[in-house]
């Protein structure tokens, strides 16, 4: 009886070891490639919110971290030209209808929005996913705005007394996005010196 148990243990253990080695090998083979893909993804989203003409560096490589009001580290990608910061991009998070909406916000040195794009969200297809620029131009309308224009109390959806359109049938998604962008601009205003400082 005891030796039977031993056999099962050895069989199971051998299979675990064998397939463990196979998986470790696969990981070794694909690891670099997967990291490369992640960098490409990042660059692809950075290009959308920082126009290539304003910088001569690679913003994906010029990274600083700044603590926000809640004490959380924010990773900031900086675009520089001639040694001066011309624009920065960082991730902002809004509360959507189905969990967090991850966005990337690009701002120039004066605090004007260069672009906003959703990078990850689970909003309802056909309603909340109108924040996708392939579906509507809604998210492109942020470009050129800043915290003073419109004034901060207008940084809301129309239903809440602000100036931004909601979608018919979906208010929560645009409200989350507008709130996140407003928060992102306030973060820029509060840390402007630190964000633009070249060290």
């Amino acid at each position: 009886m005891k030796s039977r148990t031993m056999i099962h243990a050895v069989v199971l253990g051998t299979f675990c070891l064998g397939f463990g080695i196979v998986l470790a090998g696969t990981d070794l083979l694909t690891n670099d490639e997967i990291k490369l893909r992640a960098v490409e993804d990042l660059q692809a989203s950075l290009v959308q919110v920082i126009p290539p003409v304003i910088h001569d560096n690679n913003p994906a490589k010029d990274v600083i971290t700044v603590k926000d009001e809640a004490g959380k580290d924010v990773t900031v990608y900086r675009a520089t030209r001639g040694g001066k910061v011309t624009g920065i991009a960082y991730e902002i998070i809004g509360n959507g209808y189905a969990g967090e909406i991850h966005l990337i916000l690009g701002v120039d040195a004066e605090g004007k929005i260069l672009g906003v794009r959703a990078t990850e969200h689970h909003e309802t297809p056909g309603l909340g996913d109108k924040i996708n620029p392939a579906k509507t131009d809604w998210i492109l309308r942020f470009t050129g705005l800043s915290l003073g224009a419109p004034p901060v109390e207008k940084w809301k959806v129309k239903k809440d007394g602000g100036q931004f359109d909601q979608f018919s049938g979906a208010t929560i998604t645009p409200r989350g996005v507008v709130g996140a962008v407003r928060g992102g601009l306030q973060f820029f205003a509060a840390h402007k010196a630190q964000l633009l400082e070249i060290n």
Binding site: L12, F15, C16, L23, E33, R37, E40, T124, P125, G126
Partner: protein, 223 residues
């Protein structure tokens, strides 16, 4: 369960179809069929896992003792899934962004485990491989069909983004069936998954009755 290759192909694709007869793998069937392309991608990944895991299990079955066979099967299936997951992430990254979240779920799909236990643990290597492959292709066909129906009704398109999955030469598959914004949203939401899977089950049942086949309760087929 004869060693009859023609029967293996027929069983896998139609007569004992994983979704429409055995009613296994319902989780990916409902979750991943919001479009024909998603269904196709999920199906192909599952088919690959089933073919390779069946092959490995049939080849190694001499070493697998009866008492620990289930953990070993799961180990083999999970290894294959991880392999697929890493490879798709590395080499088909666009597809990974669509399917990434769901590929690990293949482990919990009962269909690969079902075929391992019922078929691959008793049959030689080649029939087992073919069984896994054609059960997988049958699964793919069902998912693609459900996805196509839901996509047409829900978004008014067919095979949207197929070029992300299959490459640019398949751009021609992407068609718009109905004008934009006319879709019935519910079809691509979770209830649509149940509705359209049910409708397809009815469809298959009608065809079986027409063909004069004996009617078996869904899920009561010999797996």
């Amino acid at each position: 369960m004869a060693n009859n290759y023609r029967q293996i192909v027929k069983d896998g694709l139609w007569e004992n179809n994983g979704v429409l007869c055995q009613m296994l793998g319902m989780c990916p069937t409902m979750a991943m069929t919001t479009s024909a392309t998603n269904g196709l991608g999920m199906g192909l990944a599952t088919a690959f896992v089933m073919a390779t895991s069946n092959l490995l299990i049939a080849a190694l079955r001499g070493f697998i003792t009866q008492e620990v066979r289930i953990p070993v099967y799961i180990l083999i299936i999970a290894s294959m899934v991880t392999l697929v997951d890493l490879s798709i992430n590395a080499y088909m990254h666009e597809l990974y962004k669509v399917l990434g979240l769901f590929i690990p779920l293949i482990v919990s799909n009962c269909l690969p485990l079902g075929r391992a236990e019922v078929f691959a643990s008793r049959e030689p290597v080649l029939p087992s491989f073919l069984d896994g492959l054609f059960m997988g292709i049958g699964f793919t066909l069902s998912l693609t069909a459900i996805g196509a129906c839901r996509e047409i009704v829900g978004s008014g398109t067919l095979f949207a983004d197929a070029s992300l999955l299959l490459g640019h030469s398949f751009k021609f598959l992407e068609t718009r069936v109905l004008p934009a914004d006319t879709g019935i949203l519910m079809a691509v939401l979770p209830p649509g998954g149940f509705l359209f899977t049910g409708l397809l089950l009815v469809g298959k049942r009608i065809l079986d009755i027409r063909a004069g086949k004996p009617i078996v309760l869904a899920g009561a087929h010999s797996v």
